[in-house]
Amino acid sequence: MNCRQCRKSLVPYLEKVPGAPAAEIERHLAECDACRGEAVAVRALRDRMIQLGEAEGAARSIEPTVMDRIARHSQQKQEGEPMMTIRKRLFAHPWRLSAASIVFAALVGAALILVGRGNRYAFAQTVEAHRNVRSVHVLIENGAGLTLGKDGGFSYRQDSGTTEVWIEVGEDGKPVRVRADTDWSSGDGPYTVFWQNDKASVWLRSKKVFWTFKDMNVVSKIPKEIMDPNSVVTTLEERMAAGKAHITQIKLNFESEFSPKVLVMNPPEPEGMVEVYVIDPKTKLLQQYEKYAKKGNELVFAGRFRFTQYNEPISASVFAPMLPADVVRLDQSNREIGLAQGKMSDSEVCEAVVRQFFEYVIAKDYDKASDIWPGWGTDALKGGNELKSVAKIISIGPAKPDVRPGHGGRFRVPFEVEWSDGGRWSGTANVKPWEGQPGRWRLDGGI
């Protein structure tokens, strides 16, 4: 090695770069005073640079500030940006979903393996992870309230909006305590439901009524996916096992260990609900569940469930309502609601419910009347001018099923009664089963 070669290789040698001819350089340095002096000078400069780097490196980290700014930036953007991207893809290329639906879920041994265009995801992991869920916070967005009817057309649900739910689940996987806040804008207006120990309390915020009753009739308005979030996973598992779910895994543009697993379930028919499942790659728990109404190549966003704070303790105050002083408390939790059906047909029991109601009203037994028409306190029934003047039943029935959308299981019962002044009142009462107490029917809605 000559001096030129030595000086050229000096930095790689000092930096211990693989391939640097260390032995040759050391032999040359041992023999050459000039190059040894050069090496000393370069090493001195290198040491000075290292010291400078260490001095600079001792400065405080800017990471917290940067990450805080990024977090604020992310908050300003719409939440769930990856889902926005996915949604854009769904809308932009609905035909891709159809193509993807050709890929079927495969059952391999005890584990369900989803085979898609991307990598594989063993869904059994998610099923297993959900067995250990004991609490969760759910945010539900009901999209535009659009649903796909059996006639193939879209219908608009008035009770669309957003709902926020906290749920505690017992060892058996069933809900133990639930709170749900809705901003639904029709019917009873926005309300909050508290559910615990087979008692539901509904705080009708605009009506300033806090109504407690046995079981969970109103809670049944909330989809099963919310009341029992694990059911989303177990239902899908059952459908897959029965070959009724055609699922593919979406391959994201960029994937890493942090990337969620995104599964899409296509309906077998050209029309139906497309469901999107977003699974946390680390916990294997469901992060998000979205629905799209599919009609041909058209996809309309129908709803989203975001599951957060799995197994994080929920403050007791969440389940303890803080009611304003002017809220009327109505407790019917120890009462039998409605009428038992016994051996009567559905239409017979419906007519009997209306008849019984008016008989109680005529007898001025408003306590019992309010059992038939739950949600109305005794005082409220007493105060109704039409009701308190009813003196005689003219006719009741025949009951007919309510065929309007969204009223399945309900009957409409025409009635005519006579007031004490001789005037007559003709109307229609709605009757439906009381989900909280099986086998019993009650008045529903207005009459």
Partner: protein, 175 residues
């Protein structure tokens, strides 16, 4: 430890915490690079923060994830220019009365001669030095993040040493 590529992809998939790895990994070289250039730690810190935030928001436009570091340094250079333009505009505005034009800022300037000599180097040399000494990376790692052959990195480092020695000799001879 996650690679730059993995961190970038995860950040794009909605996991900003993955970007934290990149900030931790490159804050020291970027700060070293900027302090050398600006000779003002406080300003360097502000610009480094801005550069990291901008690079996060623009990650989707990064065509080649292996080019993250040169891209980040490029963003920092743009922020420096913007900052200087803004300061020029400020200087043209009259200062309100009773406000000192410059407040003393407590900052240690280690080896200022070396620092200012590095600041005068060509961009390609400064990047290598920032990563090697401020980022405490090996030459192989520098080659990886700059997406350069190892030989190019060692050549740049050798050349940077040669230039620095000339500059330092000259300055130290003057003093």
């Amino acid at each position: 430890m996650e690679t730059d590529d993995e961190c970038i992809r995860a950040s794009l998939d909605g996991h900003p915490e993955a970007y934290g790895h990149l900030v931790r990994r490159y804050q020291a070289p970027l700060m070293g690079y900027l302090v050398g250039r600006l000779r003002d730690r406080q300003e360097a810190e502000e610009i480094a923060q801005e550069a990291f935030v901008r690079s996060y928001t623009g990650l989707a436009t990064l065509k080649k994830t292996s080019a993250f570091v040169p891209w980040l340094f490029g963003i920092a250079n743009r922020v420096v220019k913007e900052s200087r333009r803004a300061k020029d505009r400020e200087r043209r505005l009259p200062l309100p009365e009773n406000v000192p034009a410059g407040l003393p800022v407590e900052q240690a300037v280690p080896d200022e001669t070396l620092q200012s000599s590095i600041a005068e180097l060509d961009e390609r040399y400064r990047q290598v030095i920032a990563l090697r000494y401020h980022g405490r990376m090996t030459c192989e790692q520098v080659a990886q993040v700059l997406d350069l052959p190892l030989g190019t990195v060692t050549k740049r480092l050798s050349r940077a040493y040669a230039i620095l020695r000339e500059k330092l000799n000259s300055r130290e001879a003057q003093t």
